[in-house]
Structure formats: C-alpha cells, structure tokens
Amino acid sequence: MTFTTPTFLVFLVVMFATYWLLDRKGQNLLIFAGSLVFYAWWDWRFLGLLLLSAGIDFVVARLLQRTTDPGRRRAFLGVSLASNLGILGFFKYFNFFVGSFAHMLTSLGMHADTSTLRIILPLGISFYTFQALSYTIDVYRRQLDAVDDPVQYFCFIAFFPHMVSGPIQRATHLLTQFGKQRRFDESDAADGARQMLWGFFKKMVVADNLAPMVSAAYSHASTASGSELLWATYAFAFQIYCDFSGYTDIAIGCAKLFGFHLTRNFAYPYFSRGIVEFWRRWHITLSTWFREYLYIPLGGNRVATWRKHLNVFIVFVVSGFWHGANWTFIAWGGLHGFFYLAEPVIGLRAPSRDLNHDHARFSTGDLLRIFVTFQLVCLAWIFFRADSISSGFTILHRIGSAVAAGQLGGPPRRSPFGWVVVMLVVEWLQRGRPHALAVQSWRRPARWAAYYATVAAILLFAQLQFIPFIYFQF
C-alpha cells in the first residue's frame, strides 16, 4: 500500500476511527494488524521474513536482558547482527557481490562461471533491519530494557507510517511510546494532518512531475544534450528531496494522528551552508544511526586525526552502499565523504548555528555558501541517479562540455520547475518551523486558505501516473 493511493486514505480513515475507540493494548493490537495489512498489500510473501527478523531480535533481546555473562551477551548480539545483516546481505547484496566477483575475475583474465539469483528486494528491508539492530544494540549496551510484549515490539519495528522508508527510529524513542497510554491531542492531530498535506504536495506535485523529465534525460545519457542533463540533474535534486521528504512528512504527520512522535528526518537541507550542515539536515535519522552504531564504535572523535578522517570516510561509503547494491551509490557516498572532509580546507564550513534558530537572517556570504553547497550536492546526485559509474562520467563530461562551450540553455519549456520555486519559497519562509505547513499560529481564514490552495494544487496538478517513492527501492 502506498501513501499516494486512495486505498491508503480509506485504510487511514478506518484505522483512525477504530484506534481511538480502543485502550492502549487494543491500540497496539490494531497497529500490529494494520501494519501487517499495510505491508501484505505490497507482497504478503515477505510478511514471514519481516516476522522472522523481528522475532529473532525480540528473543535475542530477552536473552540479553537475562544474561550477565559478557561472553554470552556478545554471542547473543552476534546472533542478532548475523541474522539481520545476513538477511539484508542476501536479499540486497548477493547478486552485487557475485557479479562484482565475476567481473573482477574476468578482468584478471579468468573465466568466471557464476550465476545470480532472481531475488526480489523486500520492501523496507534496509529500514526495518537498521531499526531492529538499534534495539538489540541498545539492549546490549544496557541503554534500554528489553520489552516482554511481542506486540509492542513488532509495532515498533513495523509501525505502518514509517516501516517502508523511515524515518529510522531508535528504540529508546519510539518503542517506549508504545508502552505508554496515548492521549488524543487536537493540536497534534491538526499539525499531523498539515504535515501530511505538505508531504502529498511535495511528492505528487513537485517530485512526480519532475520524474519524467529526469528519466527522459538519464535514460538517454549518451544522446541527451549537456543542457538537458544539467537541468535533469537539478530536477533530480528536487525530485529526490520532495519524494523522500514528502514521504517523511506524510509518515510523521500520520504518526501524529495516532499520538506518536517520530524523529525529524529533514530540516530544509538545500538551505545548508556547507556539506557538514547538509548532513545535519538530510536524512537525519540515518546519519544519527551511523554515528551511533558505526562511527562511534570505530573510534569516533577520540582517535588520531587521520583515523578520524578515515572513520568519516568509511561511514559515508557504507552509507552509500546502504542505499543500494551498485557502485554508483558507493561513489555517491565517497564523494560526500570527500566533500565533508575537504570542507574546512576550502573554507565552505558555515558558522556553527543551532538548526532550531535557522530563521535567523542569512548573510550574502551564507547565500553564496548555500549556492555552492547545492552545486556540490548535485554533482554527487549525478552518480546516485546514473545507471553506472561510466554513465555518470558520461553525464558529467557532457555537462562540462556544454558549460565550456557556453551551450547551456534555460530549463525546458513547460517543465515543472515553477512548482520547485513555489516549494522553495514556502520552505524558505517557513524554515524556522518543523515543516513548511506549520501555520498553527495563523488566523483560521488564512490557515484554511493555505490548506485549500495546497489541496487545489494537488487535485489540479498532481502527476496521476503512479510513480513509486524512490526510497522504496532501498
């Protein structure tokens, strides 16, 4: 089931109407059942995998809780890591490793008789695996007590708003909410509905209208002009942002309707004044996960400078690989790692400011930094979106040649960049708020006018061709 289908709206209404009639345990059971239906709507065959993965971690965490022997605790954690990463590795990376190995042997002049499997990637596997890992690791670190209610645990793993594409929640944040009585809060629910509306706008009006333009240029990378590829790259930058942050807004808003608060995942990343800041604003929950469970265990900041830089680079490369089994994602991660480390050297680093105070005035220097940061991010997006590394270089070369020859034109006529401008203006004006439609302080007529304008834009201009959320493939 996808957020942008009428089926989901019906599902949501039924869930909402039933949910608030029940007590806490009933609510958890309803979320459990609803999440199963939500997931099975896509492919019921992978429900077993989801339940198995969740079941292993539930049992392992219970064993970790009861055991004090460090050796046995390490062994139990090893079981959790092996099962989670094993499942993820098989479904997501098996063919990549086999293919890469065969390619390597061939390039060494050896014949490789390998075969790959036709493996379907289970929806949301990268997200729920990471979430499950965070639980067992936190229990292992004794930062969290294992829960004894399997329903509560499954709800944490598979809570339908966020199970497919996040935001990735830490157990310390979300799991505990399932153990408490939820109270319906009108202002929270209203804010959730507002955030969902903005998410739908970003996904259906901006991202989905940009998608055909991006596909057209990137699927003909060798014949498209440099100008077309440049505009398609800019279009992709906004497509992926509006697609993914749109999903996140819908997920967070939807969770609020049920009395849950999910962690923020985006904080207007394209207004970042440097790459370091960009990573504090883009896919925040994944960055946090990697910091907590990879960067710090690698030594974090408490090691020699060269080792710290190596750790940062490793985190970025792994983060790229997390997105998909393709060298293009590794290149994307590597590029960001390089930019991140090079930033202090080239003087792009912005003055440190709290993200919550970003409504402060931006100086001309800040605007310039935003522009340069955006160009660097777009440069990396080329590899993220390209079919292969060589295709990425072809695109880069064609854009470079067009720039050098002064053959760059404006955006294509009738392109949906107008909606990008609308989105950017609204988000710029609202950048001090948690989401762009956080207008609760406005008077009701103005507020409702804003809602109706957004609804009208969706009804009149949303792309009706079904385009799946980009992050579903990860």
């Binding site: 009428p6 909402f16 109407a17 608030w20 009639l21 007590d23 109270r183 319906f184 009108e186 629910a189 209203a190 509905a193 409702w448 809602y451 109706y452 609804v455 009804l459 009149l460 009706l464």
Partner: protein, 419 residues
Amino acid sequence: MATESGLLPGVPPLAPAVLVDDVVQRGAERAVHSQRALVLRWSLLLLLFWTPVLILATAFELLLWRTGESWTISRVLDVQRRDPGRLFLRRYLDQGLYRYKFLGMLERRPAILALGSSRVMRFRAPMFGDSANFYNAGGLIQNLDDLESFVRLTPDTAMPRVIILGIDMWWLNDNDRSPEGLTSGIAFDGASSWKSQLLTAREMLMTRGALVGAIAAVSPRTGAGDGIGLAARERGEGFRSDGSLTSARRPPENADWHFVDRENPIIPDRIRQGIDRFEPAPALSLARLARLRNVLTTLQRRGVLILGFNPPFSADGAAALESDPRQRELWREYRTGVPALFTELGLPFVDASTTGALGLDDRYMSDGFHAEETFHLYLLRRFAADPRVAAALPGMGAAVERAIASSKTDYWYADFPGR
C-alpha cells in the same frame, strides 16, 4: 484495583475500597469519553474543511452523469440496445473505445464485422441490406499486436462470418512501435477510474467554456440532443448502435470547395517528418507480413471470410508517400504485397489506398487519411463485383447501388435512414 484512598482527589480518606474502585472506574470512563469527544470534534472539523471540496466534486459528478459522459460502457451499450437512435461520444473522459467496441461486438454477435483502425469507422449496417447483422469495430485494431489479440480473445460463438479488414500501412512497418492496447483497453473503463474522472475535471476546468457547455448540454432550454456523452450532446455526433461513426460536419457542396486536411499535424507533414505512424522504413516488414498471414489463415480456419482493403490517403498524402525516399518503398510494397497475400490465400481484396483507385477524389475524404461514408459505398461496390462476396453478402449489392443512385447521397453521407 488496590489503591490507597487518600491519594485520589475528591475521595474521603476513609472511604471503603469498593467506593474508591468505583470512583477510579468512573474517572477512567470520563477520561475515555472526553477523549472520544475530542476525536469526534476534531473529525467533524476535518469533515467541515473537506465539505466544500466534496460538494464541488459531487456537483461535478452529477453534471457529468446527466450528460452521460461518465456512464460506464456497459450502461451505454444497454441504453443503445434499448434505444438504437442514441449516439455515444464522450468529449473529456477517456473514450473507452476498445471496451465499447469489443463488448458491443460480443453483445451483438454480428455476422458481418468491419475491423481496423478509425479509418474503417464509416461502414454502416444499412450498407449490407435491411436485415444485415452488422457491427463496426473500427478503432479496435491499431496494429498487428491488436489484431492477434482480437483473434485470440474473440470466442468462436462471437466470431463473425465475414470480416471487412482495413489494413493500415504502419501495421507492416518495423519501426512503428505502437503498443498493444486491446487487452488492457477491454478491461479499462474511464467511468470507473478515479484518475480518469480527475483528469476529466482538470481538463474541463482548464478549458474555457467547458463547464458552461456541459451545463448547456443538459439544459432543456438549449435543445441539446439526447446523445450519450458531451460530444454527442454538444455536436450531435458519435457512435451509432451499430458501432459506426457519424459526424455533424458539413460535406463539400459548392464548386469552389477545396480539400482541407483536419489532422494535426496534417498527414503530408507527418509523412515528411517521419512521425506519428509514419516512421521511416526501408521496406515492408516481411516478418510482419508473415504475422498477418498467420492471422488470416487462423481466421480462415475458423470459417471467416476476410475482405481486405487498404484504407485511402488524400492525393497530397499519397504524393508525399510517393516522393519521400524514406517512405516510398514501404508504400509501394504495401500496395503490392498485401493484395498479393490475399490473392495467395484466395481472399477478396480491393486496393483503395487512394481515392483515385476507386475513381473518386478528395471530396470523399474528411482529412488526410479518413474517407467518409460515401467512399465506402464505392468500396463495397467493388467488393460486390466479386462473386464470392456477392454470395456471402447477398443484400449488399442492391443496398449499395440504391444508396449511390439516390440524389440525397452526397460526398460524405449516404442516403440511409437516420444520419
């Protein structure tokens, strides 16, 4: 519930445990009730917000329904069966041509079927005699894939005895990549699709005068017809119950008339640009010709007599095909290879690829590659000269001659009851 009485506000310190439990219970119930009241209040506010949108959507749906634009294809066929005089043509909602024609054919189980693209839509039931069981499935076949699907999907019980098959040049062009649409098209009805309804609403809102026109089309004062669908009501044109298409445009009348190609872009330009079904090709595709042969022999085995013809191009269109080196060979082989195939299989064929081939001119065409009703009379007259056809369609010759001889038959419309 074990509770220390003094801890609860409003409960006397020495109250019995039972009373305390009662108070706690009532408090919890009150909390639940107030919670539900909050949810209800908020839901009502949400409903209030959506009410204007729902009212507008309902009003729009009612308007579409009144015009017949949003009737399902099944309902349209049902109404046309009961009232054969009513035309059907949607204007904004997806036309559902595949479904309309295929279900119409299955329902009527015709003995004679006109089959092909929009270029065969002008054959009419009266052309085959008064009691002919005829159906026009023009528009059902856009390419060879559709034709193969048609043969596969049509049950023996609905397979006609005679098929008049208009074969378009692009069916035999390897560079024509038009997709098969029949299988999914049969299953799809825009009237049952929220996406189609939304697209219709958008188009009507963006088209100047569309909503006013729709309101006028259902107003008794404007005297709009009883057609089904906005185009049928507003323009008085559409599909008759026999599947044939009628238009409301006026035919050429006076001496200073000159041909106007209403296609956009006009056919000669499409040929020169090599677009929209005129993708350049070095020659006729032998593979596709073999597939056509397979279809024909399959139909023959199922007891069908197939009458083949090449639908016509205007003089400008034909000249463009002759003169363009990227089209010339395909055009030549199309006009020789297809008739040769029919001859080889012992099937009747008439080359009607230009109006001149039947001794006519562009006055019989409504655009660069669509001939009108009267042209088809002359085409059938050619077929009637073939004894195999005359035997299979005994009423056709006389009906055609009568219509051609009538002074009421003009360049476009034949003298048959009910235009």
